[in-house]
């Protein structure tokens, strides 16, 4: 059973009621199928209603849901024969970023993604998906390898930001992110960037300069977390919710601003309700995007990539 978010309580109450009726009906041998059917229909309606009117903060909660499928889950669902590659060849292997080669619909591709854990132990091992310079340098190495062997690159973004620590700074976090952005700017194979959870700061963009940017319906993307925005700009970290509304982080907004190219639907109630279905939608969207991009010659691909970022700015009124 998935952890229940506060705003999902009305759904939960209906579901509890349904299960009570089922038990009662079974124990007493009374047919309550009509009543149950009505409640089930009601539960679906309530869920759809709630999920079609989410606030930005509710999106944040879903995007960070501990049971939300992560990069590793999507690799398992969507890529066959996946072999993980370790290390940046300079310093070490960053557990916050995984990457490797696998087959996507039969085609060899390179997959890279930030990996958050699902519990505290996993998160500590993965640094909460916050990469060190080694993570970006591993990503760059795998991207150049993909280019050499003419494989498309799929990047899964899921991070609150790059790791803020002594070692990360010492080893040039800023240089690693900048260099990775530069590598992506010039890579001659298609890059599909997919935001699957939260994407914040240069830490996210460090593997995010795609020909296309896809965002899952409940994923979020911005320059800084709502917590960071509230504490830095308002000196008040309790104003997270307000900050989430203020800085436009939900997928629909990111699309309207001309940054996200496609919103990938999730099962009603969020990807964690039905990871297999979520992976199905994601697989379709990646396949469709990859087909489009594979039709372009490298020059055309690079010209369009340049144009995509060159033209990102503010919308006229």
């Amino acid at each position: 059973m998935a952890a229940i978010l506060e705003f999902e309580k009305p759904i939960q109450e209906l579901e509890n009621k349904i299960s009570e009726l089922r038990t009662f009906s079974k124990e007493k041998g009374i047919d309550l199928s009509n009543e149950i059917a009505i409640l089930e229909k009601r539960a679906v309606e309530v869920r759809e209603l709630i999920y079609s009117n989410l606030t930005a903060w509710q999106h944040v909660l879903i995007a960070r849901h501990p049971e939300r499928p992560n990069t590793s889950d999507y690799i398992n669902y969507l890529f066959q024969d996946f072999i993980e590659m370790h290390g940046d060849r300079y310093y070490g292997d960053d557990p916050a970023v995984i990457g490797g080669i696998g087959r996507f619909n039969g085609r060899p591709v390179t997959v890279i993604g930030q990996l958050k854990g699902k519990d505290t132990k996993e998160n500590l091992a993965r640094n909460f998906g916050m990469a060190h310079p080694e993570g970006y340098r591993k990503a760059m190495r795998l991207m150049k390898q993909a280019e050499k062997f003419n494989r498309p690159v799929v990047c899964f973004i899921d991070t609150p930001g790059a790791y803020p620590g002594i070692g990360a700074e010492e080893r040039g976090q800023f240089e690693a992110i900048a260099r990775s952005i530069l590598i992506m700017a010039t890579l001659k194979v298609p890059i599909i960037a997919v935001v699957i959870g939260e994407g914040f700061s240069g830490g996210a963009l460090g593997i995010g300069v795609g020909d296309r940017i896809l965002m899952q319906e409940h994923s979020i993307y911005s320059v800084i977390t709502p917590e960071g925005y509230a504490s830095i700009l308002w000196k008040d970290s309790t104003r997270n919710r307000e900050a989430a509304e203020t800085i436009r982080i939900v997928a629909r907004d990111i699309q309207k601003l001309g940054v996200a190219d496609k919103i990938v639907p999730e099962p009603v109630g969020g990807a964690h309700r039905d990871p297999a279905a979520a992976a199905g939608f994601l697989g379709e969207a990646i396949a469709e995007t990859m087909e489009e991009l594979l039709e372009l010659a490298p020059e055309a691909l690079l010209a369009r990539r340049y144009e995509k970022y060159r033209s990102i700015g503010n919308l006229a009124d």
């Binding site: 803020p164 800023f174 700017a185 995010g208 203020t246 800085i247 436009r248 940054v259 006229a316």
Partner: protein, 283 residues
Amino acid sequence: MVLEAFRKQKQTTVQPDTENRDIPDGIWIKCSRCEEILLNKDLDKNYKVCHKCGFHFRLKAAERIKMILDEGSFREIDAGILPVNPFKLADYERKLREARDKSGLNEAVVAGEGSIEGVPVITAIMDTNFMMGSMGTVVGEKITRAIEAAAAQKKPLIIFAASGGARMQEGILSLMQLAKTVEALARLSEAGQLYISVLTDPTTGGVSASFAALGDIILAEPEAMIGFTGPRVIEQTIRQKLPEGFQRAEFFEQHGFVDKIVPRSQMKETLAKLLKLHLQGEQ
């Protein structure tokens, strides 16, 4: 879309009040490091460097231009681009207004063409007096245009970075300026043009993690604060005090991320030497 937005703005160009650029700070100023009382007049003569302890005061863009470019050679480009407020945030509007009043600038970067010891260059100079030099859409656009101008005119590019990072009030649009500026730099590099990045205090966040980190040559001013994450956030995260000198220019020179630390008094001649070493044809 963006071009339309900028074209639209051009019609509403406002010339910044140039007289306000040198707000008199009084006759005396206290060095923020050694607390020596300095005569403003002397400080100006000494490149705004404390004669006692060598502390480099932060410079206004106009002061930097005066120190680095040949007299009278600087011609500003895209001066009239006004800040934008994409999400129409009231407190951002107010901050932008205050920043303009305080700095006399329209945005946090001044770009233009000029020469250094006779060598023509394109330059972009960031100014921390405007919202800590933060990079939003307009700063990203002006930097990108400067890079494109260097490529088109086949001139070397020099960017003086001074920034706390991406401008938060423009959300994802600010973040995408990292990609935009770096895409432009990739083209400049392919065209074989020289790009010198000068890191000044501070160069952090999204600016350090994009164009500032990618110079063919990276210079830094003494003791400039450099890094991706600012020291306060790191201290909060790891719950310990950072060692003295952490993330300063000297630290990053030691760790291999800066080619050379150049005191301000030698900056112009160092740049000139480097530029001349890259001149094609007879020297």
